[in-house]
């Protein structure tokens, strides 16, 4: 509830102050989703009127059609409204030691002006969330997360003084600009020196007279940037970038197209590939970073972090299951398929969490959780795929192979200076 929507009622002698509406304001219970600073621009471009909620905001699922938007990611450049991404400011003299106790990577190695992807766990070593840490200054960080978790951040702050933790989601408008021509569009928009940004590096530039923070990060596994700005500058920035990218095929995209790209890149989606241990109810539904193939994020040589004791023990025993990539025969996406070790479907060994036909790889790919010891790369499994063909359900037992992720990782994503496509 935003306080500005309400004024206290002064009618009668009722001792309890009750809120009443400001004339003209839309009450939160009529339209509970917030609008991002890019909403009017998105609304204007939306042909499908396909909006979905994301972290309390209404955002676009599909603007025109998914294929068109997907191919813009891989062949041109795209704008994706990232504002609902939850952002925390973490600052103060003990911010470094605080973050190092919170997350699984050694944050002391992160230099000013760099970004690190990381994960954080509860005491049992189960993943709460993954996200990115931006080091904006000597003791000034930004933590970007998929879901709100101020409670956990504050609990983790017990014993650390001189620390500021505040949510700044609404104070920052954010756009993801992803695709092979993204650098060229930024250069055309007048961002001088943006070619020097290496992957996971941050720079500050001038865009049409306003300051724009640019990080070379993204969720597509392609060349791309994320742009962070003051909300008052959001619409102007959108217009300038759209104009600058006109000849390079710029297109606004929604979450559906992004989802195909992120599966190709092998990235995890919370509540799809894992459920945060802050939310799981059923026993055994928590996932550890070792199970999710994120062991490269876990630094056992750094100072203590929450979950370390449990993860040391898990590493000793070996994870009970593992998230893997699957290359599946045929072209029918294995949505929600159960996986078996045999064609007869007698021994169930796991299930698919994300699946798609990869238009770029021309492969039928998926992310799946598979029990030990069946998760070894190269191991064959069988996917039980259900197909609805004109309202008649058919069942296919299809051979699949466990493969390394990512499925798609073009060299252009890392090249510095980036290609001027």
């Amino acid at each position: 509830m935003r306080n500005s929507d309400f004024v206290p009622m002064t009618v009668g002698a009722d001792p309890i102050p009750r809120p009443t509406l400001v004339p003209g304001a839309t009450p939160h219970y009529v339209q509970p989703l917030l609008k991002t600073p890019f909403h009017n621009r998105a609304r204007a471009l939306s042909q499908r009127d396909s909006f979905i909620p994301w972290a309390g905001y209404t955002t676009v699922d599909v603007f025109t059609n998914v294929e068109q938007e997907y191919f813009a990611i891989r062949n041109a450049t795209t704008l994706y409204d990232l504002t609902p991404m939850v952002k925390y400011r973490i600052a103060g003299p003990s911010a470094l030691s605080y973050l190092n106790r919170l997350i699984t990577r050694d944050i002391s190695k992160l230099k000013v002006g760099r970004v690190a992807y990381s994960a954080w766990c509860n005491d049992a070593g189960h993943l709460i969330d993954d996200g990115t840490v931006f080091r904006l200054g000597e003791s000034e960080y930004r933590l970007c997360t998929a879901e709100r978790q101020l409670d956990w951040l504050l609990s983790s702050a017990i014993g650390f003084d001189q620390l500021v933790i505040e949510e700044v989601t609404e104070q920052i408008a954010a756009l993801a600009m992803q695709g092979p021509t993204s650098y060229a569009v930024l250069a055309a928009a007048g961002l001088v020196g943006v070619e020097r940004l290496k992957p996971f590096e941050i720079g500050t530039f001038d865009l049409d007279g306003a300051s724009l923070m640019v990080s070379r990060t993204g969720f597509t596994g392609d060349l791309g940037y994320e742009l962070w700005m003051d909300p008052s500058h959001a619409e102007r920035a959108w217009d300038v970038l759209m104009a600058a990218g006109y000849t390079r095929g710029i297109r606004a995209i929604g979450s559906s197209a992004l989802n195909i790209a992120r599966i190709e890149a092998g990235f995890l989606q919370p509540n799809v590939d894992f459920v945060s241990s802050a939310h799981t109810v059923l026993i055994g539904r928590d996932r550890s970073p070792l199970e999710l193939g994120l062991e490269w994020l876990v630094d056992f040589d750094k100072p203590y972090f929450t979950g370390r004791r449990a993860l040391v023990e898990e590493r000793r025993c070996g994870p009970a299951r593992r998230l893997v990539g699957l290359d599946i025969e045929g072209n029918k996406p294995a949505h929600n398929a159960l996986l078996y070790s045999d064609r007869g479907g007698r021994k169930e060994v796991g299930s698919v969490t994300s699946a798609t036909w990869s238009p770029t790889c021309k492969r039928n790919i998926a992310l799946a959780i598979i029990d030990a010891p069946h998760f070894t790369t190269g191991n064959p499994v069988w996917a039980d795929i259900y197909l609805n063909r004109e309202l008649v359900w058919e069942r296919r037992m299809v051979r699949a192979r466990i493969v390394e992720r990512p499925f798609f990782a073009p060299d252009r994503r890392k090249a510095t200076p980036p290609g001027n496509y």
């Binding site: 106790r101 203590y304 979950g307 004791r309």
Partner: protein
């Protein structure tokens, strides 16, 4: 905070110890003595100039000495006293089997002992013959419950949800202890276990004075009023501890509780332990994710294989260790421990022996209770919920000089009183409220002892805030952490540290914040020593 690194060799003490015990309170000393007797090299570090912690004797006015926090001994197991040969190390008793007298304003008091109730005023409704019979039945049954629960206290609590046989065995044994009470008693124990003591005593007794006296023991040293849920549990705890102590009646060590601590220290030293006073620990040092020793306030670093903390859990984890070595969820549980004391201590230096209305000389050597009814107790408690002290407090009075004249100049006397309720956080602040509360306490006692005020030459009030500062107990709670069902046994102080072992390798707890809790018992210290020695049964 960055990882602590090894200090230069020159700064390190030459001696290397198997164990460092932080804090020379009675649990720390029991733990150290037990470990030293097992042949281990033990160092006890005490911040104050004397050992003893809250079991200490201090001069509070020129020539007047008093047990400065705890003032009675009745929970320490007889086999612990025997096992450490405390009597050969100087422990003597000035009084044993001290009676309890429930004072009545302007009327005849009631004497309560294990054997029965006597005295009272039939005209005032007690103790009617019915109550005497009810008292016998009540004490017998409570004694059976105490007997069933007592073995729990001397054991390391089991962990839940493990496949280890010792844990399963301990849980089975607990179930068996309760099952073997028989159907009627078992049902009654389960019925009253979560009840409040007000309802329980109203079921059994007619006499308000008897109800008040029995209810007082249920809320003594706790954040409970008689109507608080779980106040039967605290009573059962006290009875079980007394049962485990061998039914040891209320006792007063000669020279005050400080002489118990001196005897404990002497027993530890005789067994080979080293005890250093004026050695305040600043930090527990950690290397390679393991406790490696301690750093003193002086900067000196001492290394040891294992560090055992007699300090309260919040101070141990949040201050001495530092949360950067702990999981965030565990840290949150520790920070949520209820640690605020609600009990004050009042010391009065008297020019002559006070007279209490209708109280015999013999009774003056026991404890005198001002808790004339359960309603009185509950009203006294009400204030504390709102950050106020009681306007009519409940008080446990002892006159230690009656049994032990050496504590005061010849012919003079001391009152040592435990006073409830005094909130740790007083709304107006203790600087502001201290004088008024002290006056209320004296006025309250004077109602039962006319003329007392004129013989007071000096007075000292220790609020929970003072107890926190002087005895280094976070929150100033006797038990370090509230004794309640949710902070007991497998949950004491918090899951993850309830077996004396903390999540940090090489760091153990041994204080009142652990199972089975405080009171001058020593069981936590002994259990912890057995656990670190791998001898826990």
């Amino acid at each position: 905070m960055a990882q602590q690194t090894s200090p230069p060799a020159a700064q390190q003490s030459p001696a290397r110890y198997d164990f460092i015990v932080i804090g020379g309170g009675h649990n720390g000393l029991v733990c150290a003595a037990t470990l030293a007797r097992a042949g281990r090299r033990v160092l006890v570090l005490e911040a104050q100039s004397r050992v003893g912690g809250a079991a200490a004797t201090r001069e509070f006015a020129p020539g007047f000495r008093v047990s400065s926090c705890a003032h009675l001994l009745h929970l320490m197991p007889a086999d612990l006293i025997r096992g450490l040969a405390l009597e050969s190390h100087g422990l003597e008793f000035a009084a044993r089997g001290m009676p309890t007298t429930a004072l009545r304003p302007g009327g005849l008091p009631l004497t309560v002992t294990e054997a029965g109730v006597s005295g009272g005023d039939a005209g005032a409704g007690d103790p009617a013959g019915g109550d005497a019979d009810a008292y016998a039945a009540y004490t017998q049954r409570m004694r059976r419950f105490a007997g069933a629960l007592a073995p729990l206290l001397g054991k390391v609590p089991p962990r839940l949800g493990t496949d280890d046989w010792p844990d399963r065995w301990a849980l089975l044994r607990l179930a068996w202890q309760i099952r073997r009470l028989g159907k009627r008693d078992m049902r009654e124990l389960l019925r009253i276990g979560g009840m409040n003591v007000y309802d329980l005593l109203k079921e059994h007794f007619q006499s308000p004075l008897l109800q008040g006296a029995l209810g007082f023991d249920a809320v003594l040293g706790s954040n409970f009023g008689p109507r608080s849920p779980g106040s039967v549990f605290t009573l059962l705890y006290r009875l079980a501890a007394a049962y485990e102590a061998g039914g040891a009646p209320l006792s007063q060590p000669t020279g005050g509780l400080g002489s118990l601590s001196r005897a404990l220290a002497a027993a530890a030293v005789a067994a080979g332990a080293e005890v250093r006073t004026n050695a305040a620990v600043q930090r527990i040092t950690v290397q390679n994710h393991r406790a490696s020793g301690v750093q003193l306030a002086s900067g000196e670093t001492i290394v040891a294989d294992t560090v055992i903390s007699n300090v309260d859990p919040q101070a141990t984890f949040l201050r001495l260790l530092g949360t950067e070595y702990l999981d965030a969820g565990f840290t949150r549980r520790v920070s949520h421990l209820r640690t605020r004391g609600l009990t004050a201590k009042m010391h009065l230096a008297l020019d002559d022996l006070p007279r209490f209305t209708s109280v015999s000389d013999e009774a003056l050597g026991g404890r005198l209770l001002i808790a004339p009814s359960l309603e009185y107790l509950e009203r006294a408690f009400n204030h504390s919920k709102y950050g106020e002290f009681s306007s009519a407090p409940a008080i446990e009075i002892t006159l230690p000089t009656v049994n032990d004249p050496t504590l005061a100049p010849s012919g003079k006397h001391v009152i040592s009183a435990v006073v409830q309720y005094a909130p740790y956080t007083l709304r107006e602040g203790w600087e502001q409220g201290r004088q008024q509360f002290a006056e209320i306490i004296v006025e309250t006692i004077e109602r039962y002892s006319p003329g007392l005020g004129k013989s007071i030459s000096s007075a000292q009030l220790l609020t929970p805030a003072d107890i926190e500062r002087e005895f280094r107990i976070t929150g100033g709670h006797w038990h370090h952490a509230e004794l309640a069902l949710d902070q007991f046994f497998m949950m004491r102080p918090v899951p993850g540290a309830a077996q004396y072992q903390t999540p940090v390798d090489g760091l153990y707890l041994c204080g009142a914040g652990c199972h089975p809790g405080g009171g001058v018992m020593g069981t936590a210290g002994r259990n912890a020593a057995r656990q670190v020695l791998g001898q826990a049964a």
